[in-house]
Symmetry: C2
Subunit: 196 residues, 2 copies
């Protein structure tokens, strides 16, 4: 953790907790970079390399895995997804803060490589509320939703690896809390080596 | 640290750093109780027992010292000053946050009895600026000022005992930072035992 380095904010939590919405709001309201993921899946119409994703072929991706160039990665069916270390480090080295929105399994991988990042767990106000949100989204099939809810309980048990928990009962309040966390983290004594 | 307990915010720093001003502003802007000190000095005109100070006689104060009833105490010339534990605990138990404005020697004592309090060090933007502030205040003699400045360097070396450092280059910004620290502290995973 260097004094002039930006903060890596790892925003995680169960599906349907609303972490995506919080991330989008944060990006609008404060200067923070969004970590761009790498993937081997084909670009969709309108997606831009280096903005939406870094589109890599399978060989390049696997080479990067071997060379330890991802903060985390996962294989979903036939495609790889991952967070390139060099991109994140580049942002932080410029003194900019970087946000990484990721599922708890990914966050656990990141924690091993970046223990000094700030880990925020977004929690839906209740499991019932979470179910409602997932159903409302309307993009997933019922069996997917049920699978997600049962795994959510498991994910919450991973809370101990996190620094902060933000209950997303109201998006604007949750966003204010995450902003406060960033401000507070910048005040941490460990980030002020120059005085020690 | 209980889930429903208020936060004890220990605000410290060298003389002239502006901690008094920050405290007053915080009390106006957010619901936070100010820790009331005990003293053996005589009340001044208008001072109210239980509001400005708890005015105790010497015997009572010394008994409380022996019975370990102060978070910290000090003898200044012929008078005692101290922070009664029961007052602070009472405030916290009601779920209210409590602010304790104190010099670094006192904060060090408090740290031993309340390691889970939140320790914020207010730092003047520069030693030069601090000298100007102390001189402007006009309430201290020159030799007092010099003594304070030389001890300030020493006090800053105590920074490692603190959680946060807030550079008071602009009061309103410093106040916002302290408010963010309180919000962030309430989001700490350790304060959410119910999920663990």
């Amino acid at each position: 953790m260097k004094n002039n380095e930006g903060i890596l904010l790892v925003l995680s939590g169960p599906s349907g907790a609303g972490k995506g919405t919080i991330c989008k709001r944060l990006q609008k309201e404060i200067p923070i970079e969004y970590s761009v993921s790498a993937t081997t899946r084909a670009p969709r119409v309108g997606e831009v390399h280096g903005k939406d994703y870094f589109f890599l072929n399978k060989e390049t991706f696997e080479k990067k895995i071997r060379e330890n160039e991802f903060l985390e990665w996962a294989r979903v069916y036939d495609n790889y997804y991952g967070t390139p270390i060099d991109y994140v480090q580049g942002v932080l080295a410029q003194g900019k803060d970087c946000i990484l929105e990721i599922d708890p399994q990914g966050a656990k991988q990141v924690k091993k490589k970046k223990p000094d990042a700030v880990y925020v767990f977004i929690l839906p106000p209740s499991m019932q509320e979470q179910e409602r949100r997932l159903t409302q989204r309307g993009t997933e099939k019922m069996y997917e939703i049920e699978k997600r809810i049962s795994s959510a309980q498991e994910e919450i048990s991973a809370l101990e690896y996190y620094d902060y928990v933000v209950v997303n009962d109201e998006v604007s309040k949750a966003v204010e809390k995450v902003k406060a966390i960033i401000i507070a983290e910048k005040c941490k004594v460990q980030r002020h080596h120059c005085y020690l």
